[in-house]
């Protein structure tokens, strides 16, 4: 695979810039994951997921993120192929030069991170995009509140008086129109409160109905992490990510020419701390769910 004639250093600068952007993204994503640990029945986590799913600035960044990720993968794979070609005959003796294991295995740890991303996309992202049907996707029919169901039964049995029948029909119409609108516009109960100027009391019976538009990532995450095999694979892949990141940050600085005797030790230390914090921040969620829930 040959890229158009762009100098090796320019390509590496793109990889480094994009890599630093991805490092910042990981911090944001980790923050959202940590919301899973709050004992609030998913209020923060769902709010965060909803924000990430609906905010327009985030939607723009979603495109930037994908472009960044694809650029990072395509360029590094192309560079790696060139690197392999640069030594057609290998040495008989394995190298005994003093180098870090992380720096020499970037393409492999990166590959493992890619495997993780594939897994992650099937489980979460494709569900979010509606490309894959998640089993946690709540169907609207199921969400007619028990109260409405009861009233419907009573109506069919002729137990409601005229006034109650009109009240029920008005309510059903309102519910149906809001469901239709909410499904069409991907709205959330908070939005509905604002748009229809409804009180919290009015929205309450509708809350579940409208949530049916979005997949329930909170319970999905809990159920996935409760699966020990899934969590184990997840943890292994985050060790690979930690390995990748330890070298990634300091390497990006070097590629961008940011090397200084006074700060080198700090950059190296910061890379280690950042990589370990990120990996632990992600890993603590499945560990907590596996062993403490």
């Amino acid at each position: 695979m040959n890229l158009p004639k762009i100098a090796s250093i320019s390509r590496k600068i793109v990889v480094a810039c994009v890599g630093l952007f991805l490092l910042v993204f990981l911090l944001v994503h980790m923050g959202i994951n940590l919301c899973l640990l709050r004992p609030d029945d998913g209020a923060w986590y769902s709010a965060a997921c909803n924000f990430m799913g609906t905010n327009y600035i985030i939607k723009v960044f979603e495109v930037v993120l994908f472009a960044a990720l694809i650029a990072h993968i395509v360029i590094t794979v192309a560079l790696q192929i060139q690197n392999w070609k640069a030594r057609p005959v290998r040495y008989h003796q394995p190298s005994k030069s003093k180098t870090s294991a992380m720096s020499k295995t970037m393409i492999w740890t990166g590959g493992l991170v890619f495997v993780f991303l594939a897994l992650h996309f099937v489980n979460f992202y494709f569900v979010k995009m509606g490309w894959v049907e998640g089993k946690y996707m709540i169907q609207s029919e199921e969400l007619i509140t028990p109260e409405l169901q009861k009233q419907y039964m009573e109506l069919s049995q002729g137990l409601l008086n005229e006034e109650e029948t009109i009240a029920f029909q008005t309510k059903m119409e309102a519910v149906n129109s809001i469901i239709t609108k909410a499904e069409a516009e991907n709205l959330y109960s908070e939005d509905l409160k604002w748009i229809y100027n409804l009180s919290a009391e009015d929205v309450k019976p509708l809350e579940k109905v409208v949530e049916g538009v979005e997949p329930d990532f909170y319970h999905m995450a809990y159920d996935l992490f409760a699966n020990k095999i899934y969590s184990f694979i997840y943890l292994i892949l985050f060790v690979a990510l930690a390995f990748h990141l330890i070298h990634a940050m300091q390497s990006a600085f070097q590629t961008l020419g940011l090397n200084h005797n006074k700060y080198n030790k700090f950059i190296e230390g910061f890379s280690w701390v950042y990589a370990i914090v990120i990996a632990l921040g992600f890993a603590i969620v499945p560990i907590y769910i596996m062993f403490f829930v």
């Binding site: 250093i9 640069a86 030594r87 040495y91 190298s95 030069s97 300091q250 070097q254 590629t255 005797n261």
Partner: protein, 250 residues
């Protein structure tokens, strides 16, 4: 001291090479690695066993950059900051098996046995690793002021002897340490600074064209450089590159 040598033998650039095993005996511990190979070659010639083992060498005092063997998985062998000719047999244990290979890189094809063609380095220098005007004779001291730290860094970079150990050590066969040393050495000094932007672009373009790999910042080059050229030069090369590209006029 006695050693078993596993040496790469290859008749010419196109021939298929193989490892041959030779035994050398009664080697002094003060013998240099190349002297040990001389002793082997003398015995190969006088006993009419085989064609002598070909290897590059010239000054044998660590300044010419001609010698260079990949010994037991390390360029210039198991010692830091020395060339192969400065490596002594006391660094090995008696009875040890020593694997000797040529530099392996697409840009450094094997000519014969352990000799490789390092013309690629000359081509990189020819692309821009020089000051293109005559700077005259030795000027009076202090007629051109150069900061001490700049002069030190330039001198450290100028220590590069172009032996190719950085390429040999690098898992990607990248020549970045060599190019960065040459770029740094000239860019840090006033005489070289004038052409710095042009130089860095030409040298990097030539380096890419010659089939060297890309630096992945593993720093095997720094670990194996016989002249202890530092990785900070590679960062300087990257900075020079960025400045040259950003400041490039259309």
């Amino acid at each position: 001291m006695n050693f078993t040598l596993k040496i790469w033998r290859q008749e010419n650039a196109k021939a298929k090479g193989r490892f041959e095993t030779y035994k050398v005996e009664n080697i002094s511990s003060d013998c240099s690695f190349l002297e040990m190979l001389d002793i082997l070659n003398e015995s190969l010639i006088s006993n009419k066993i085989a064609h002598p083992v070909c290897f590059d060498n010239d000054c044998r005092e660590g300044i010419c950059g001609m010698c260079g063997l990949y010994i037991n998985g390390r360029p210039h062998g198991n010692d830091d900051g020395v060339t192969t000719c400065q490596l002594h047999m006391r660094k090995f244990t008696d009875g040890e098996t020593i694997w000797i290979e040529p530099w392996r890189a697409k840009a450094f094809p094997v000519i014969r046995d352990l000799v490789v063609d390092r013309t690629a380095y000359d081509k990189i220098i020819q692309a821009g690793g020089y000051v293109s005007v005559s700077t005259g004779g030795v000027p009076d001291a202090n007629s051109i002021l150069i900061a001490k730290d700049k002069a030190d860094k330039a001198m450290d970079a100028a220590e590069c002897i172009g032996c190719g150990a950085c390429v040999a050590a690098c898992k990607n066969a990248s020549a970045m340490l060599f190019v960065s040393a040459k770029v740094s050495h000239l860019a840090l000094l006033p005489q070289g600074k004038v052409e710095a932007a042009n130089r860095v672009q030409k040298m990097v373009e030539k380096m890419d064209e010659l089939g060297f790999g890309n630096c992945t910042n593993t720093y095997a080059c720094e670990a194996e450089c016989p002249k202890l050229i530092k990785r900070s030069n590679i960062a300087r090369l990257n900075r020079e590159w960025i400045c040259a590209r950003v400041g490039k006029e259309k």
